[in-house]
């Protein structure tokens, strides 16, 4: 297998982009990444996206975006794994370069969720869950996560404010990220008085509905000597049942554990070798469960890393270093690529005030559904 490196990246700010359509949002991120990589024509474009068909009446984003950015003719396609679509697209890009079927590819994660009403967006997001076994019973995607969080609080007897630290950390880091949707710090008091979305998930436990696009340029190391910004040390995907009730242990993200294990084996590292970890904190319960599944805390103790301040930039396990899904925002199909872009920022010392000092190995983990698809990438500094 050829060594795969990242030679460029780009992103749009995350927010409510009412003045831009999908193609314009994709254009901005793709052109930024190609400029950063100093390339003019990649071999292929892989697009991570979940909802364009349902919310914009537009499938076929691969060819659409390739054409709109002036790359008519190149290979292109869309990859979908619910909220894990961006990570899955990175995975396809890695395979394309590693196979030598391509030398250089662009991966673009993109989502536009704010052009439709809340009911349509909520219905769209519920297509990540099992339509026949879960959604038909009337539950929403937030509802599923609320059940998990309630169960966690019950099983492990955690205090009411157990999850506050995740939101506080994400917002603190978002302050310094010009591309983050929310750039205001929050206090524990603000967390505790936040309105309930779906008990026990409050507004501060939940990532926002938003728009955004992010890109990385992947290349064969031997074809682009001296151009690498980061090395791809591992790429792994694992799955679990969509339906949460169909798992032996709903509070154990088995796919996250397996995806992490495969990634650690490929990269030949252990959790304590990871200098920063971009977790999929779509809801704060997911951050806790991810930390546990990936081996950073025992089951039932993930929340304590947040409570003890271990997840901060200078902590033992810095997570959501640029704001995470909570504060940078969660344009669902784009998120997995944003995470990888942020790991590259950290490994190249471009993370500004949020720089994790001496970071040489970073991990990004993107989750589809309530843990049904988990994509893990580990990157190393050059």
């Amino acid at each position: 297998m050829r060594e795969v490196v990242i030679i460029g990246s780009g992103q749009t700010p995350v927010g409510e982009h009412w003045g831009k359509s999908l193609r314009h949002l994709g254009h901005d991120a793709i052109m930024a990444a190609m400029k950063d990589a100093d390339i003019s024509r990649p071999d292929a474009l892989y697009v991570g996206n979940m909802l364009s068909g349902q919310l914009a009446g537009q499938e076929h984003l691969g060819a659409l975006l390739a054409d709109f950015v002036g790359l008519r003719g190149i290979e292109a396609m869309k990859v979908e794994a619910a909220c894990g679509s961006g990570g899955a697209a990175v995975r396809v890009g890695v395979m394309a370069v590693a196979s030598a079927l391509a030398d250089i590819v662009v991966v673009c994660g993109i989502e536009k969720m704010t052009d439709t009403g809340a009911a349509e967006t909520t219905s769209g997001l519920a297509t990540a869950a099992d339509q026949e076994y879960e959604v038909s019973q009337g539950i929403s995607f937030v509802g599923l996560n609320a059940l998990l969080m309630r169960r966690y609080m019950h099983e492990y007897n955690v205090p009411d404010k157990a999850f506050a630290g995740f939101s506080i950390n994400a917002h603190a880091n978002g302050v310094n990220n010009p591309n983050a949707m929310f750039r205001s710090p929050i206090s524990e008091a603000a967390y505790l008085r936040a309105g309930m979305i779906c008990d026990p998930i409050n507004l501060m436990d939940s990532s926002p509905v938003c728009d955004g696009a992010a890109c990385v340029v992947l290349a064969a190391a031997d074809r682009f000597p001296g151009r690498a910004k980061a090395r791809v040390l591992a790429s792994a995907v694992a799955t679990d049942s969509l339906a949460v009730h169909d798992r032996d242990e709903p509070l154990f993200l088995r796919a996250a554990a397996e995806s992490s294990r495969r990634a650690y084996a490929q990269a030949r590292v252990m959790p304590n070798d990871i200098d920063l970890f971009e977790v999929h904190d779509a809801f704060s319960i997911m951050a806790a469960l991810s930390l546990e599944a990936a081996g950073f805390a025992p089951q039932g103790a993930g929340w304590q890393l947040a409570a003890d301040g271990e997840i901060g930039i200078a902590g033992r396990v810095p997570i959501s270093t640029m704001g995470g899904l909570k504060a940078r925002g969660h344009p669902v199909g784009a998120t997995g690529v944003y995470q990888v872009v942020e790991v590259v920022q950290q490994l190249t010392g471009q993370a500004g005030a949020n720089q994790v000092k001496g970071a040489t190995i970073g991990m990004a983990q993107n989750i589809g559904g309530s843990g049904a698809t988990v994509v893990t990438h580990i990157l190393g500094a050059v």
Copy 2:
């Protein structure tokens, strides 16, 4: 790059499967393919699908199908390129094995189009076209193809029945395929009196709305010695603008020409080395344009291959040998995989009454939109 071979395949009959949901349809094809390949657990499942989010309220088919067929845990994701989704998923499977990131993978193309009303299905299919530049003007996907066919008839001054041969050939071949949706032969008279769908496209020029799932099992040749049923000689994708009006020559499928050229170069063959060609005859105009773009006829003369009987099983360029999209049926995201399965049937002498004698090289070309994404695979006999 590792050599990639096909070691098994499976398919459901194409038709109106009102008694089965997406997961059951996928189950039937995946289990058939795994049994045919004599494997119990692949490394990954790549699902080609276009419309499940819009028509079934179900995205995230990769993990869903992996779980339902007993493969919980394996890598899985969905690949989308409109009606070219199946071919694109095969492409991802080839990259996975070629890269050595997987040794054996299952590719499943699946679509269920008959559970919704005609308006929803028509709207769904239109998401293959450019929503902002084409669909917003009120045109449907059939309408776009009707414009192309009308223009072709005008430019090349072809007779009214120029396209009859494509439909007659497809139906003749469908008769002998137990998995085909339509198994009745049609006459030229029947073609000429067929009702208009969208002038000049009549009922017999148009592939049906239907359900189906097809699978191939791809493996690394060196890991499965003696198990190959066919060799993957080439895998290529090229794109064009989604919007037909935005092309210099709307009657030239530039992406099909480029995708074919890349595939011929990889396989080191010329068009006259191809023993059979599974074309994307979603509409008969597409069959004519595909034959021209792939180098089997000069521009404006593709229809003559049909008129002259050259496309039959014993002809110079056998196409749609198991019924094609017209008679086997066109469950859109599944079609590209059906085509590959049928090439394998031909190369292994399993095509029954439709066997192309001595076939050693076969090509499958899957088209997304009106030529915006074109996926070409060339397979060789073992």
